[in-house]
């Protein structure tokens, strides 16, 4: 599928520079794409991938450099201008209107009209046809927000491709999809590729890059490291190119020996559950222990975490913290009891974008202390400086609004917020989603250090190898039910997948079916 180097590229970016508030995000970055190829753009957080894409799609104006589309220089000043040039984009966070129907989202700005009125039957028909082209079945009349996330993602792609795009840019399109959904997305992308669309695919998943990409461009520190054919590039080499040093992908962290069995549990859930969210489950957690929650997206992992943290009130069961029974009615009570929870949705539930990095870091500790026991500004600054240093948060200074940081650094700041409260139990829900390999290891290494000093950890991730690597015990969830609990030692990915894939027992209630 790889086009010969002789063929003229459909898109050619050369020497792109971009600075933000004095910090160089791009330094002479380049990118070439050919028609009919899937091109993976890879790099760590902060490598400049999204910035490069945003220069291309008219979100940012590059400070220097040249962009050629089919040989002609272009300077898209707005996303709309880029769209008109045939450059369509699907961003990491789905940028659609959840209150509007799928049809409206797909056809917004170009709804078919008759006599000046919107021709709804034709609009729905056309939207349905576009979605069917991507092998998606969904009721296009329903508000988008009621459709599963995967379908929303496909709608975003449908919107992009239905504008006769010559270049389609996908920024982390699979970060909110499960495997089956990802596979379906890939099928759709392959069909688009075969129609001659040049697809730029930004991802952190090595597997997906190798499965999909015809070519890979690696970025590091705002520069383009090089362009490679997947066949010529080993995974280890790719990772070390991204990181800039040789890197051991396997076994960077070793599970610690489990704490002695007679250690008193710090957290004990008995029959905890909530109708429609999570079937009652039992869980025990001892101090210094790492419990992994494995399961597919929507299997009840997040619901379990929210029940433990009091973010969702259970309607059955009991929770004991440090041997003491307690009913958590509000996350504030959980925080008082030494619980901490990094939610899955970093942007909507984690960071407070307009507040500074410092304020974001001290937030939970200040909430735990109450409004009267104010943490003096100097102490706040010291706390922030300490975590910026220890977790390697990349920011110009602690007073920058956290919204300006890259995703991985935002995640580190949210983690810092909780570490500052010195929790007894830390719940991490997909802490490494949308984060590069090196940051992942840094974050996990920091957390495991704390576990060695007695903190208990509940670790939730879609990536089973990651769960296995850190967990002493693994609880497997399926269809909102805790179905198995295993010792982490000697457990293999295949075994976990087998548990997840087991046919549900007959007595279990029918899982809620998605429209897709």
């Amino acid at each position: 599928m790889v086009t010969t180097a002789a063929a003229a590229p459909v898109l050619d970016l050369r020497g792109i520079d971009k600075r933000f508030a004095g910090v160089a995000a791009l330094r002479g970055a380049s990118l070439r794409m050919h028609a009919g190829e899937v091109h993976a753009l890879m790099g760590q957080n902060g490598a400049g991938k999204s910035t490069l894409v945003k220069c291309l799609t008219g979100v940012h104006l590059p400070d220097a450099g040249q962009m050629l589309l089919q040989g002609r220089p272009i300077v898209p000043a707005t996303p709309l201008a880029a769209q008109r040039l045939g450059i369509a984009t699907v961003y990491q966070e789905i940028n659609l209107c959840p209150n509007l129907s799928a049809s409206e989202n797909i056809l917004a700005g170009r709804l078919p009209r008759r006599w000046g009125w919107i021709d709804w039957p034709r609009a729905h028909e056309r939207a349905q046809a576009i979605l069917s082209g991507l092998q998606v079945q969904a009721d296009v009349r329903r508000p988008l927000g009621e459709l599963p996330v995967a379908v929303q993602q496909m709608v975003a792609i449908a919107r992009a491709v239905s504008q006769d795009a010559r270049v389609l840019v996908l920024d982390e399109p699979t970060s909110s999809l499960d495997e089956a959904e990802t596979a379906r997305l890939f099928d759709a992308l392959k069909r688009l590729r075969d129609q001659g669309v040049a697809i730029l695919f930004i991802t952190h998943f090595l597997d997906q890059a190798y499965a999909m990409a015809d070519r890979i461009t690696v970025m590091r520190n705002g520069c383009t490291v090089g362009e490679y054919l997947p066949a010529d590039l080993s995974r280890l080499r790719l990772v070390s190119l991204m990181v800039g040093r040789d890197f051991d992908t396997e076994g960077a962290t070793q599970p610690m020996p489990p704490p002695p069995a007679d250690t008193a549990p710090v957290l004990q859930a008995q029959g905890l559950g909530r109708r429609g969210q999570m079937q009652p489950f039992d869980l025990q957690l001892r101090s210094g222990e790492v419990l992994g929650l494995a399961g597919l997206l929507g299997s009840g992992r997040t619901e379990t975490a929210r029940l433990l943290f009091g973010a969702q009130r259970p309607d059955s069961g009991t929770l004991r913290l440090g041997g003491q029974a307690c009913t958590l009615r509000h996350p504030a009570e959980a925080v008082q009891h030494g619980l901490a929870f990094c939610p899955e949705e970093r942007k909507t539930e984690g960071i407070v974008a307009e507040l500074s990095v410092r304020e974001n870091i001290v937030l939970a500790l200040q909430a735990k202390r109450g409004w009267r026991r104010f943490i003096p500004r100097r102490e706040q600054a010291e706390l922030a400086a300490r975590y910026i240093r220890e977790l390697g948060i990349k920011t110009a200074d602690a007073e920058v609004p956290i919204g300006q940081l890259s995703g991985g650094n935002q995640q580190k700041a949210v983690l810092a917020r909780w570490l500052a409260t010195e929790p007894r139990v830390l719940i991490l829900d997909e802490p490494t989603r949308g984060i590069d390999v090196a940051a992942k290891h840094e974050i996990m290494e920091q957390v495991l250090q704390l576990c060695r000093r007695g903190m208990a950890l509940v670790f939730i991730s879609s990536e089973i190898p990651e769960v296995l690597r850190v967990s002493q015990r693994v609880a497997v969830l399926r269809e909102r039910r805790l179905v198995a609990e295993r010792d982490g030692a000697g457990l293999t990915e295949a075994q976990v997948v087998a548990i997840i894939a087991e046919a549900p027992a007959t007595h279990s209630p029918a899982p809620r079916r998605h429209a897709a």
Binding site: G43, S50, T51, Q92, P331, E349, L363, K368
Partner: protein, 349 residues
């Protein structure tokens, strides 16, 4: 990315959040001065300063007071449109309790209050606090949208004030009470001192307690603030109650200044001026970051503008239009599109 050295920031005063409000106020003051050379004249009479600037400070005091309370409400993504009605209620309570008679004893004027003044003031402020508490419970506990929740009291409040005054305009004949709204202390209007004192106390609480952080965090991202352990419900109740209290204080200033309480007209449309003052001061109606200094500037802008319109002899019929034009310009100048702010979303690659 180089993070070790902080980037040298070029000084850009117009990016400072209070630059435009301050510039607007200055421009309005200069405009007044240009039209009326006596505008900046200050003289000392009867133990206090006299002059147009002092008038503006005195008249702006109730608006500053209400707008300060409103700032907190708006920072939590809320709005309180009942403050005008609460002003009327507090004024009615104070006026009815004090009332006052002019008595001549041995050829001397003696002022007699129906109820001890301290008690009357406490009662008026207490009732205002209760009004705010009611709003807070509707918003923070019952979860009603702020504009609807406070609409209830906005409509009902005028009726309550009428009930208290029995449909009459209650005149106050008790001289010590006039000090609040018309008295002077250290040469400046006492009400202005009150408003500034309120701003100072709030500024202290914002920067020396965690309340500023909590209000801004739960206004900017309620979901994240909740998960971080902030109890938004209690916070909202407190914020609305406080806003009610500031409205009550403004009610005392106004009724003391005009020596009467009118259930129908006291504080009429004050909520809109207060919201305007907050907006002019640069606090976003979307919640989050708030600026007390900006609000004080905003309230002074409104009062100076009103003064300018009257003193320049603009016909009263068009003065609302003039006000609207000025406000529109100030809001436009502060809008992101105008400032061409750098995109908030930096590199997230």
């Amino acid at each position: 990315m180089n993070t070790a050295t902080a980037p040298a920031r070029r000084p850009r005063p117009w990016r400072h959040p209070q630059f435009w409000p301050a510039a607007t106020l200055l421009a309005l003051l200069l405009l007044n001065w240009a039209f009326n050379p006596g505008f900046v004249s200050l003289s000392w009479r009867d133990g206090h300063l006299v002059g147009p600037l002092i008038d503006i400070a005195n008249r702006a005091a109730p608006l500053i007071t209400v707008a300060l309370g409103m700032t907190l409400v708006i920072a939590t993504r809320g709005i309180d449109i009942s403050v005008g009605a609460v002003v009327a209620i507090a004024a009615a309570v104070a006026a009815t309790l004090i009332g006052g008679n002019l008595v001549i004893q041995d050829g001397q004027q003696v002022y007699v209050a129906r109820t001890p003044m301290a008690l009357a003031l406490l009662a008026a402020l207490g009732v205002a606090l209760l009004c705010g508490l009611w709003n807070g419970l509707l918003v923070g506990v019952a979860g009603i949208q702020p504009i609807i929740a406070t609409l209830i009291l906005m409509v009902a409040g005028r009726g309550i004030a009428q009930l208290i005054t029995q449909g009459q305009i209650v005149t106050i004949y008790y001289k010590p009470y006039f000090f609040i709204g018309a008295g002077y202390w250290l040469g400046l209007p006492f009400a202005f001192w009150l408003a500034l004192g309120l701003a100072a106390v709030m500024g202290w609480l914002k920067h020396r307690s965690a309340l500023g952080l909590f209000v801004q965090a739960s206004g900017a991202n309620p979901a994240a603030a909740r998960l971080a352990g902030i109890r938004a419900g209690a916070l909202l109740v407190g914020v609305y109650a406080f806003c009610g209290l500031t409205a009550g204080l403004a009610g005392l200033m106004i009724s003391s200044n005009v020596k009467s309480a009118d259930g129908n007209n006291a504080g009429l449309l004050l909520e809109l001026d207060a919201i305007l003052a907050v907006t002019l001061g640069g606090t976003s109606l979307l919640g989050g970051r708030f600026s007390l200094r900006g609000t004080v500037l905003g309230a002074l802008i409104i009062q100076t503008l009103t003064y300018a319109i009257y003193s320049m002899g603009v016909p009263p019929e068009v003065n609302l239009v003039v006000k609207a034009v000025v406000v529109g310009v100030v809001c436009l100048v502060q809008s992101p599109a105008w400032l061409q702010w750098r995109p908030a979303q930096a590199d997230r690659a």
